[in-house]
Subunit: 175 residues, 6 copies
């Protein structure tokens, strides 16, 4: 198995390049993002459970916690690099080789093969939207990204009320 | 529910005080520690599954990912402060109030009420041991802590072979 | 005596948790706060001396410079932790054990047993208010804290003109 | 033209992923690397000029200073990502689009089309070797990388005496 | 020759004191500034070439890339220190001793002895103006500096249209 | 009076250039150094008091806490800059203008006009020696500086036993 100590240190020292490219000082790292997705996915799962949808909380948290692990090997390159590759296949390969016991969870998320994976994929985009809104309040030019994420999130019809809740909490000026 | 954005930022900006008190520059944060525990617990669960012990991987990862969340509210004070309080009860209170949907997972870990919780409690100490060994290699005086953690970890009889594996990988000079 | 090198490094690497919990990036450390209290207390003492109140400048600076030393041992936990303990007694114990030659100065400040201690206690709160106002100007949600500190500071009747001076300089929108 | 302010901030905040993956705390950024290549290439050019080889100093410095600019757009991903793409073509595209006035300089370096470009390509690898040696002295496991770079650098026959000079200065235990 | 590794690390860890004195958190380092001057001078040279003025691009980039190297030895002190010394002579001495092969380039810039040096001197001030404007947008009190730099830049009559371009892009509220 | 908030932030963000020039990552700031001098001077004063020498503890702490304040205005330039100026007169001027109420304390230290000032001047050098020894243990090349400071400290005959104590505690390999 791989050296998880440097996996952690790489993820917790790698700034997300989209923020850097918008001038953000002290940009969110990949590991901080992963934790935000985990907490967000957990809140969403709790809410859905309250609403009578039966969601396995442990699975939601687990998938969210590991969904970006491949970036410890691949790094966090710009959009243009990802678009040139079948990025998701590359990630999957890394999982199979480095974290075989977690590869199935990755697939749930990446290909949204079940509800758990779908919640995490939604939370992943939503976490980025929330962060973009916070950065915008601090004076950084992240509105473009916020708007484009908002559109993508609206495609998740059944989570519309959840999207509304977080947008009204974190992204006042958006909609 | 609480503001998870500042929960994340607090955890990812709070250095673990034990490292600071041993002079470590750029000390591990609480959120980096949590991720290390998560990956370590996942590796251990995978190994135990291979050995025929049936462990729910999602639960292990989920519990590990959230086990230190209360520190977003409580901070990460020195040993002396924890010893004066029923620290675990205080943590539990915070979970009930701020993360009620995660409180059950916290209890598994803190009171080791089931195998999942026991694995995470073991991984929590082991992650700190591994970090202490790495810091020691970089020239920091962390041997005392490593030795005391090693003793505590030896109490987990059935995980002795797992302890051996990680000690031989990360803590050559220890035993 | 204790290892003052790690005392310094701990204090200068420990962010004040209240700022983290309000999302402040690159939050003020305990040692930066101590220095601010020292300079502020010095300015206040100079002013009082001008006004004919006889203040020992050296004592004011000395007490301010050391008033938070116990946090090198205790860390800087959240409000909730402090409220559960007799925090000031815990601090005093640490002083007696680790910095016995400074324990008397600590008591002047903590129990406001003389004018010097009272000035430092006032400057301690005022330094936090000033910082809150600066953070607010940068876009962080610290108004609640500013307002609550302002109230506490108004209790120092005889320093009202001093409070006015700093509020008009740093906290325009406050009163 | 592109926004050079965020170009700079991205390059000066992007840690080189190879160091992170070897556990280096406070890893060299892309912009610090670029400056090291610039100074190194300048020293080498000065030496070659002394030896009677006629090198245009301005061109060497200019090419070195800009050789990694494309990473402001592409980020600094892991080796595996670069190997899947025609990375150099991707870089060239970015240059043509974002820095057309610098694209020719990039080609000199990337395809080693002239002596200037060859010196910079050599200095690029040498700068990484020197850094690896320094990290190794601080306790990080970078010997593997140092050894593999050393081999690549030995392929530049005519710069062998230069390689010797820097290896004896920075990498005592290597050869 | 001097140790260029610590030259780089010093420049990339030295914050420019003028920003610190205006309260900027995570202030621009000397090496980030140098890179900004380099890119800016390159853009300006490209534009002038388009306009029919014949500028040697390599020389402009080279001079910009090295213009602040002396600060690796001298540090980056406050204005008051520079004004007490013949700062430019001190810089020149450092260049002659530590970077003799670059001393001529330094003189072009410092004494504006030719068009290349003049472009870099202009870009040096313009880079600081642009940064001041960005900091101002984030809430820092840097308008005074922006205004004073703007005045100095207006003295370069023949670059007036270039100044206009960058001011309208980065410093909306200024003129 | 001056803006003490930016005084603090400047001092707590300014790395001491001598460490940078020896390659130290995360170098000690001026404000961390000031705190170390304060604690060290306090320990020395306590010891001298025990030995029957009558030292005013408050004065020792006060002088140490403020002795480097002028660097908020002047910055922390390299040795070469200080040697070209009457640095101490420049510092004194800054004190008179910006911190007139502290100028007398500065003079005690800078010109060692009394025992209090002499203790702080001794502690200032000793703090730098201790830090040099710690950096040396972490792998940085600071022995030259340690040795030169040790010689200067030996000139304080009456503090020889104090020097011995700290050297045996922090600088094993030195004498």
């Amino acid at each position: 198995m791989t050296d998880i100590l440097t996996v952690v240190d790489t993820l917790c020292k790698t700034p997300r390049v989209g923020w850097l490219q918008r001038g953000v000082t002290d940009a969110e790292t990949v590991c901080a993002h992963s934790l935000l997705v985990t907490l967000l996915a957990g809140e969403i799962a709790a809410r859905l459970n309250t609403e009578g949808v039966d969601i396995n909380m442990a699975e939601v948290l687990a998938v969210a916690a590991v969904h970006d692990l491949a970036e410890a090997v691949l790094g966090h390159p710009g959009r243009e690099v990802r678009d040139r590759l079948r990025w998701e296949e590359l990630e999957e390969e890394v999982f199979k080789r480095e974290f075989p016991h977690l590869a199935e969870f990755f697939r749930w998320y990446r290909y949204e093969t079940n509800t758990v994976g779908r919640i995490v994929a939604f939370a992943d985009k939503l976490a980025t939207l929330i962060r973009a809104c916070r950065y915008s309040q601090l004076g950084y030019p992240t509105e473009d990204l916020a708007r484009s994420l908002y559109k993508k999130l609206m495609a998740y019809d059944d989570f519309a009320h959840i999207l509304d809740y977080y947008v009204s909490k974190y992204c006042r000026g958006l909609s």
